[in-house]
């Protein structure tokens, strides 16, 4: 299959430079793909889609009474990251997560950063996801953000920016692992000659992280702490991932109705009575976690859970209250946080952000709605968003009204020309915009799975990569080294011949 007619259309392409020459890290891949026989690529693509369905790697579509399950579309052309660039990204992410963690801890304790007037107090008090219930809580090791899925994008200038941090319950990591597995199963020849860093150890690292925050008492009697994954249930859109992670870690997947709080501890109901639970990786939003502490009408959570957590008898990952830093207005202050808590300049830049509650910024935003992307400060999934250059006059008028009525709830950013990766569209390749979500684990130490999830906007020209809005995903390759031929370590060649053949 040929790239001869492939066009970069003036965008930054992850595989080709501005002159249309393959980047060094992509050359081997390009050769392999071009050497394929007629129709082979499409056959592999169809095989991958069938496999996804067969493996039941699906998400539930909300609002669909038939309980329709859909696959998250997968494209076979991977996104490649050079070793050197990944090292830089990794350093930047670690710096950023340390600062964010320090910020959250500060906000629920002394609020020094507010007293020092680095961030206006008003911003925090008006943040929807700020949780006063969390004031004074000391999570184990002082870690609040155990699992983070930071969204990165590359702009037309080639620079990588942080788009958002996703500190609450980021999903998608199961696709990182499954995409790699799918590639190996359907398109093994594509790895030829390349040394791509493996991602398979994520579940082990996750389990290590979760065990590292267990209450000290749970390590007694030479027993390991009991870790569980808490899911809202089978009809949640990310259920596949919840059960996938529990299975890969070898821990129980529980629902709220399996847990009960008694005598100051959390227990699960088993066939042999109640068993104590020490660490809960919860995939339920703060609001639904505990009807006593948060939303009283929640049926998904566990009554009294937050009391046990506050007493230090159970650990929760992520810690409740994290969402305060997911507010897009707070996001704008992360570079300041890095300077304040870490005493360093930020390695990874933020996307320049206009805060509509500032008069000057608002004026600018209202005058340039056709050029900017406007986002609601507390929405995710690509909702509540205006992409200026793709909008109608009516939509812009509508957003202008909303901004004037609730300036605190809106921010605006320049429309980024997200980088593209060649993507199989019917029988040829076209460039499609991508982002990148690496997953950061924070326990005793900070670890990042190489690469992360590359999401791709499959609709032509679209900048929205979310699965709910026509997005798909790609495998993400971090090369072990930037030499042309990644040398594999010498394999053991000598093996004792198997015996036991009937003569």
């Amino acid at each position: 299959m040929q790239f001869a007619h492939y066009k970069t259309d003036g965008f930054y392409d992850e595989m080709f430079d501005a002159e249309g020459v393959a980047r060094p890290e992509a050359r081997l891949l390009l050769e392999t793909v071009e050497s394929l026989g007629e129709g082979q690529m499409q056959r592999c693509q169809r095989a991958a889609e069938r496999l996804l369905l067969q493996l039941g790697i699906t998400f539930n579509v909300y609002g669909d009474s038939a309980g329709t399950e859909r696959i998250f579309p997968f494209d076979l052309i991977p996104r490649i990251l050079r070793a050197e660039e990944w090292t830089w990204i990794e350093r930047g992410l670690k710096q950023r997560i340390r600062a964010l963690n320090a910020f959250i801890d500060d906000i629920y304790h002394d609020q020094k950063i507010l007293k020092d007037k680095i961030i206006p107090e008003e911003v925090i008090r008006s943040a929807i996801f700020y949780r006063p219930q969390c004031i004074g809580i000391n999570p184990p090791r002082g870690v609040w953000c155990h699992i983070t899925g930071t969204d990165l994008v590359r702009h037309g200038d080639g620079q990588i920016y942080v788009l958002e941090d996703n500190l609450r319950v980021p999903s998608g990591v199961s696709y990182v692992l499954e995409n790699r597995d799918l590639m190996k199963r359907t398109f093994p020849q594509i790895f030829e000659g390349l040394h791509v860093r493996p991602v398979d150890d994520y579940p082990s690292k996750l389990l290590e992280t979760l065990e590292s925050i267990a209450p000290p008492s749970s390590w007694q009697k030479s027993q390991k702490p009991t870790v569980v994954v808490l899911t809202p249930g089978m009809y949640n859109s990310a259920y596949f991932e919840h059960s996938f992670l529990a299975q890969k870690m070898g821990v129980q997947l529980v629902e709220g109705r399996d847990l009960v709080v008694l005598d100051g501890f959390v227990w699960m109901r088993t066939t042999k009575g109640l068993r104590k639970v020490d660490v809960i990786y919860r995939r339920i939003d703060d609001d639904f976690l505990d009807p006593k502490a948060f939303r009283a009408d929640s049926l998904l959570g566990v009554r009294g859970l937050v009391d046990v957590y506050r007493a230090g008898n159970v650990a929760l990952a992520n810690a409740p209250g994290n969402g305060v830093a997911d507010d897009k207005v707070v996001y704008a202050y992360v570079p300041d946080m890095i300077r304040y808590y870490e005493g360093e300049d930020p390695i990874l830049p933020n996307v320049p952000t206009f805060l509509c509650w500032r008069d000057q910024d608002r004026q600018h935003v209202l005058q340039n709605l056709d050029k900017l992307v406007v986002k609601a400060a507390n929405e995710a999934g690509g909702y509540g968003m205006l992409v200026g250059p793709h909008s109608t006059a009516q939509q812009r008028a509508d957003f202008a009204d909303r901004i004037r009525a609730h300036p605190r709830d809106y921010i605006a950013q320049p429309t980024l020309a997200l980088s593209r990766v060649p993507t199989l569209i019917e029988d040829h390749f076209e460039g499609r915009h991508v982002d990148l979500r690496p997953y950061i684990l924070y326990g005793q130490e900070i670890t990042i799975v190489p690469g992360g999830l590359t999401r791709v906007a499959l609709r032509k020209g679209s900048l929205v990569v979310n699965s709910s809005q026509g997005g798909g995903s790609k495998d993400t390759w971090v090369l072990a080294n930037d030499g042309v031929n990644g040398e594999l370590p010498a394999q053991m060649q000598t093996q004792t011949q198997s015996t036991g053949v009937r003569p």
Partner: protein, 332 residues
């Protein structure tokens, strides 16, 4: 620690039902397959040939309301693809899959893939039914279920979860063997004068084939005789679909789950299973026939239902009182 952690009650229940529904789908597929085959040998009117099958499933009232008189077409549709019949093959596989989906982290990936692909296949068949490929559909469900069991036995640790699955499978299997015997025997009664005729032989061999027992029966008893067939399907020690065999395996699994020594009991469900096991151990076929096969089978089914109910009370359901009691015990 993981190995010692008992199953969540909810998970145990889902595994049990996953296995039951898979076994049920297999049995329904075999019943229909045998009956389809039978029509070439017997010139019965469709109602007489297909109604007993509906009766076996225990859903004759619903069927009569919706379809009226049984025909080959509506009986097969009702038992195979009808989403509103909770015991149709489609519904069974859907339920098996939903249960498996809720315990994916506990069963092996291979088990999940197998039940998922069986569901996807019947769903596709259902959308585009081809009457001429029906025998193949039933065959593939039978084989699919055998594959599922083989995968389960060779990829899943034979610990608590596996035993809950085996418990479900054996109870379901015993129930289905008793039903097919009951219905067919009832149907054959008027023709007892035909004993020894080809007609009779064909009918009885169909009963045996419905539980995959024809060849094994031949090896053991030779000629087809009602007494021996009842003995084989109810009391045989070695045939894997006889009631005796199934209840023994179920009892073994139950004791493996609880840790109670065989022959003793701690839980009501253990006592019920042990009683039924002992009854089958010491029952004779003469006694069954003397007292009435139908009455006997009815009683056995009621006892198996009581075991199912007992399992639910002992292991799956938690009442507020039990929770309170558990809290006073759990001082660790």
């Amino acid at each position: 620690m993981i190995g010692d952690t008992p199953l969540l009650s909810r998970v145990a229940e889902s595994i049990y039902w996953m296995a039951r529904y898979m076994e049920r789908a297999e049995n329904v597929a075999r019943f229909i397959g045998v009956n389809l085959n039978l029509q070439f040998d017997l010139q019965l009117d469709p109602e007489h040939q297909w109604q007993p099958l509906i009766d076996t499933s225990g859903d004759s009232v619903v069927f009569k309301e919706r379809y009226g008189l049984a025909s080959q077409h509506n009986a097969i549709d009702f038992l195979t693809y009808d989403a509103e019949n909770p015991n149709s093959i489609f519904s069974c596989l859907r339920a098996a899959r939903e249960n498996a989906r809720s315990v994916r982290e506990t069963i092996s990936s291979e088990m999940w893939e197998q039940v998922n692909s069986m569901y996807l296949r019947i769903q596709a068949n259902r959308q585009m039914p081809e009457p001429e490929s029906l025998p193949e559909v039933f065959r593939s469900i039978r084989l699919g279920s055998h594959l599922f069991q083989g995968i389960m036995d060779s990829t899943m640790t034979h610990s608590e979860g596996w035993h809950f699955a085996r418990l479900g499978r054996q109870l379901e299997r015993a129930d289905k063997t008793s039903r097919i015997l009951d219905v067919k025997y009832f149907m054959l009664l008027p023709s007892l004068k035909d004993i020894g005729t080809p007609y009779d032989d064909i009918q009885w061999s169909a009963v045996l084939k419905s539980v995959s027992g024809f060849e094994m029966y031949r090896k053991k008893h030779g000629r087809l005789q009602p007494r021996d067939i009842v003995d084989f399907l109810v009391l045989d020690r070695e045939f894997p679909r006889s009631l005796h065999f199934c209840i023994h395996k179920a009892d073994e699994s139950l004791h493996a789950i609880t840790g109670t020594p065989m022959g003793a009991f701690q839980w009501p469900s253990e006592r019920l299973t042990g009683l039924l096991r002992a009854e089958l151990d010491f029952m004779s076929v003469e006694q069954i026939l003397r007292e009435g096969l139908h009455e006997h089978l009815d009683l056995l089914q009621a006892k198996m239902n009581a075991i199912g109910q007992g399992l639910s009370e002992d292991f799956y359901a938690w009442t507020p009182e039990e929770l309170a009691a558990a809290s006073s015990k759990s001082g660790t």
